[in-house]
C-alpha cells in the first residue's frame, strides 16, 4: 500500500488534488453495488473506463482528455466524471462543437508528442471527423516513413442505444476495422474496458475504442488482478468467455451478453456453445476462432452492425481461407443488424438488432436442429 502511494506521488508530483490511495479501482469497488461471483470486487463499465483514464493520467502527464461536455458536465454519459476536479482544465478540455475540429486538434497534439483521449459523444458524430481518424491518424506513421507516430485514442459509444433513431444507432466496427494503420477495440465487460483502454492509451498507434452506451451501467465482477493500476489486456487477443464443444459463437461488445444468454438456453437442450468475446476488431484474433472451429465445427458470428461488408463477413472469409474450412460441418452463420436505417419505434428497433432468441435459433440451425 505504502509503496503504491509513493509510486503515485513520484509519477505525478504536479497533481496535488489526487489523494494517493492504494488502488483507485478498489476504493471505487467498495461503493459499487453489483453481483460478484468469483471475486469480491465489482465495477460498472462506466467506472472501469473512468478508472482506466484516471490511472493513465496519473501515470503519464502527457495523457489528456478532450471532447464535448467532458469537463464541467462530467461527460455526456458521465464517463469522465470527476476528472476535471482531479486534473484541471489543462488535462480535461471541453471543446466547441466541431468533431472535425477537435479530432484534428487531437491528431495534431498526438503528432507533437502528447497522448490525447478524444471522446466523441457517439461514433455517429465521428463521421464528421473520419478524415482525421482515417487519413491523418491512421496513415501518417506510414506516410512519414515511421517518423511521426500518432498515439491518439478515439473513444465513445458505438452502435445502438435505445430509441435514438437511425442517425444515432450505427455500428462502425467494420468501417474502422478495414483501415491499415488503425487499431480497433470493441470491449464488452468492465474488465475488458479497463484493461483495453489502458492498453490503448499506452499504445503508440492510433486506437479507435468502441464502447456501448447500453453497457455503461452494467456491473461486472473484477478479479483482483484487474483492480491493479497496472492491469492491461493485450489488444488483438480474443477471450473465450465460455468453453463449449458443439458450436462456436463469436461476438463483440453488447452482443457478448446476448451470446452468453443464448449459450445458457442452448445448454438446457444439451448443446454446449463456446462463446468467444472478440475484444479487438483489428488486429482480429482469427487464431482463437480457428482453434475453436476446429473443436466445434460450427460457427456463428453475432454483431450489431449492418450485414453487408461487416465484421461477420470478414471472419467468415478468413475462416474459409484457412485450414479451419475443412473442419466446418455447416455454413458459417452471421447474425447481424437488419439491412435498414434503424427505426425509431422501440419495438421495431428491438427487431432490427440481434437478440438472444435469434442467436439460439441460428445456433440450432447451424446444428441442423431447427424444425
Amino acid at each position: 500500500m505504502a509503496a503504491a502511494r509513493t509510486a503515485f506521488s513520484r509519477v505525478a508530483p504536479a497533481i496535488a488534488n489526487v489523494r494517493a490511495r492504494p488502488s483507485l479501482a478498489l476504493k471505487r469497488a467498495a461503493f459499487a453495488r453489483g453481483y460478484a461471483t468469483a471475486s469480491e470486487n465489482s465495477m460498472t463499465v462506466r467506472d472501469a473506463l473512468n478508472v482506466a483514464m484516471e490511472e493513465e493520467m496519473v501515470r503519464d502527464e502527457t495523457v489528456f482528455v478532450l471532447g464535448e461536455e467532458v469537463a464541467r458536465y462530467n461527460g455526456a454519459y458521465k464517463v469522465t466524471k470527476g476528472l476535471l476536479d482531479k486534473f484541471g482544465e489543462k488535462r480535461v478540455v471541453d471543446t466547441p462543437i466541431t468533431e472535425m475540429g477537435f479530432a484534428g486538434i487531437a491528431v495534431g497534439a498526438a503528432l507533437s508528442g502528447l497522448r490525447p483521449i478524444c471522446e466523441f459523444m457517439t461514433f455517429n458524430f465521428a463521421m464528421q471527423a473520419i478524415d482525421q481518424i482515417v487519413n491523418s491518424a491512421g496513415k501518417t506513421y506510414y506516410m512519414s516513413g515511421g517518423n511521426v507516430p500518432c498515439p491518439v485514442v478515439f473513444r465513445g459509444p458505438n452502435g445502438a442505444a435505445s430509441g435514438v433513431g437511425a442517425q444515432h444507432s450505427q455500428d462502425y466496427a467494420a468501417w474502422y476495422g478495414s483501415i491499415p494503420g488503425l487499431k480497433v477495440v470493441s470491449p464488452w465487460s468492465a474488465e475488458d474496458c479497463k484493461g483495453l483502454l489502458k492498453a490503448a492509451i499506452r499504445d503508440p498507434n492510433p486506437v479507435v475504442f468502441l464502447e456501448n452506451e447500453m453497457m455503461y451501467g452494467v456491473t461486472f465482477p473484477m478479479s483482483s488482478e484487474a483492480m491493479s493500476d497496472n492491469f492491461t489486456i493485450p489488444i488483438g487477443k480474443a477471450k473465450v468467455e465460455r468453453e463449449g464443444t458443439d458450436v462456436t459463437i463469436v461476438a463483440h461488445s453488447k452482443m457478448v451478453t446476448h451470446s452468453l444468454e443464448a449459450a445458457d438456453i442452448l445448454a438446457k437442450e444439451g448443446i454446449k456453445a463456446e462463446v468467444i468475446n472478440l475484444r479487438s476488431i483489428r488486429p482480429l484474433d482469427i487464431d482463437t476462432i480457428k482453434e475453436s472451429v476446429k473443436k466445434t465445427n460450427r460457427l456463428l458470428i453475432v454483431e450489431g452492425g449492418f450485414p453487408a461488408f461487416g465484421v461477420g463477413s470478414e471472419i467468415c472469409a478468413q475462416i474459409i481461407e484457412s485450414e479451419a474450412f475443412d473442419y466446418l460441418d455447416a455454413p458459417v452463420e452471421r447474425v447481424t443488424g437488419a439491412d435498414v436505417p434503424t427505426p425509431y419505434a422501440t419495438n421495431l428497433e428491438a427487431l432490427a438488432f440481434p437478440d438472444t432468441p435469434v442467436i439460439v435459433k441460428v445456433a440450432k440451425r447451424a446444428l441442423y436442429r431447427t424444425n
Binding site: 464535448e68 458536465y73 471541453d94 462543437i97 466541431t98 458524430f125 439491412d339
Partner: protein, 445 residues
Amino acid sequence: MHPLSFRHSSLLTRACLNGRTLSTLPASTSLGCLPTTHSPTVSKLAFFNSVTGDSSKIPSYQVLDVFGVPIEGAKVPEISKQFAWRLYEHMQLLPTLDDILCSGQRQGRIPFYSLTSYLKYGEEATVIGSAAALADDDEVLSQYRETGVLLWRGFTLDGIMAQVFGNHEDSGKGRQIAVHYGSKQHHFHTISSPLATQISQAAGVGFALKRDPARRSKNVACAFFGEGAASEGDFHAGLLLAATLPSPTLFLARNNGFAISTPNSQQFYGDGISARGPGYGVDTVRVDGNDVLAVMNAVKEARRRCLESGRAVLVEMMTYRVGHHSTSDDSYVYRERQEVEDRTKNDNPIARFRLFMESRGWWNETNEDELAFRLRRDVIKAFKRAETVKKPDLKDMFTDVYAEEPWNIKEQREELMALLEKYGQVWEPWQNELRTLKNGGKPVD
C-alpha cells in the same frame, strides 16, 4: 513629401489602374494598392481584430425595450392588432406545447422530447419573429428548436402530435425521433440530428432555388442553428459557398448562451457569430432576439438583401436558453438557478410583447386568461387524440429504404403477408397488434 515616395506612388497608382490610363492621382493620397486585390498599401504595421473597427462589440438592433416601449429612434413596424395577436399567440403556444409534451415524456407516454423553446420562457421571439418575416414558401432547414416556424405556417397541433407519437398521420411514418418534424407542404425540411449539417445543405437548397426559373428571385433558403452548432465545419462551408457561388441563403443564428453545458465563453473567442459574417463577405446584422419586432424587421431586411444580391446574409439573434437543453438535462448542474430566474424576470420576450400590445390597447388580462386556457385545452386535446390514432399502415414497414423495392425487402414483405394470412386472425397477440394499425394490417401487394 519625399520625392521617392511621390515617384513610387505614381508608379503604383498607374499599376492600380491596371495601365488603363496614365493619368496620375495626387501624390498626397496613399502609396497605392496591391496589384490584384485593390488592397491599399500602408506604412504603419497595424493588426486589426475587430469588425466594428474600434474593438467595441457589434451592436444589437432593437425596437422595443424590455418593457415593450419603443426605444428612441426605433422603427416600429406597421402591424395590425390581428397580426399582433397572431404573433403573441404563436409565442405563447411554444411553452404551452413544451409543458404538456414534457409532462407526457416524464409520464412515459412518449420517449424523447427536446424542447422547442423552454420550460419557462426563452427563444420564442427569435423563432416567431423570423417565421413572420419569411415567405411561407421559403425553404427552411432548421436545427431542432424552431417548431414555431412550422406552427406559424399552419402546421396543426394534430400534425405535431402525429410526429411525436409516430401514428399514421405522421408524414415521417414514425421513423424519426420526436420533434424531428418535416413537412414538404410547409417547405420545412425534415430535421436531421447531426448538428449543423443543415447549414451547408441550405446553401445547396438556395442554389437549387436559383436554378429554378419559377422560384428564382422569389424564394430564399433559410438555415436556423444555434451558436454551438456554428462551431461545426459545416458553418464555414455553408457561408463560404453561399457567399461565393453564390446562392440566396439566409443564415439565422440563435445565440442562446449555451450548448448543453458549454457556455459561449468556451464555444468561441470572437464577438459571437456576427463577427464571422464579414470574414466571408456576408452582409450581417446582430439583433436582440428577445424583441419579436426587431427580429421581424431584421429578418425581413435580411431576406430582401438576400433575394436582391442572390447571396448569403447572416442574422445573429441574441437570446437566452431559459430551459434545460432537453428532457435528459438538468442545467442547474452547470449554472445558477438565480441566473435563470433573473433572465426570465428581466428579459422576457413574451412579457415584453404583451406590454407593447397592452400599451396599444390591444390586450388585457381577460385576453390573457382566455388565451392560456384555449391553448392548453387545444394542446391537450390534440395530445389525447393522438394517443388513440392508429399506427402507420403495415405496408410502410417495407418502404423507402430505396426508391424501388429491393429483392430482399420484397421477400420479407411476402413472407409477412403469408404469415398474416395464416395466423393473423387466429393468434391473439397478432390480432391485438393488427388492431392498432391503420387498415388493420390488411394484406399488401
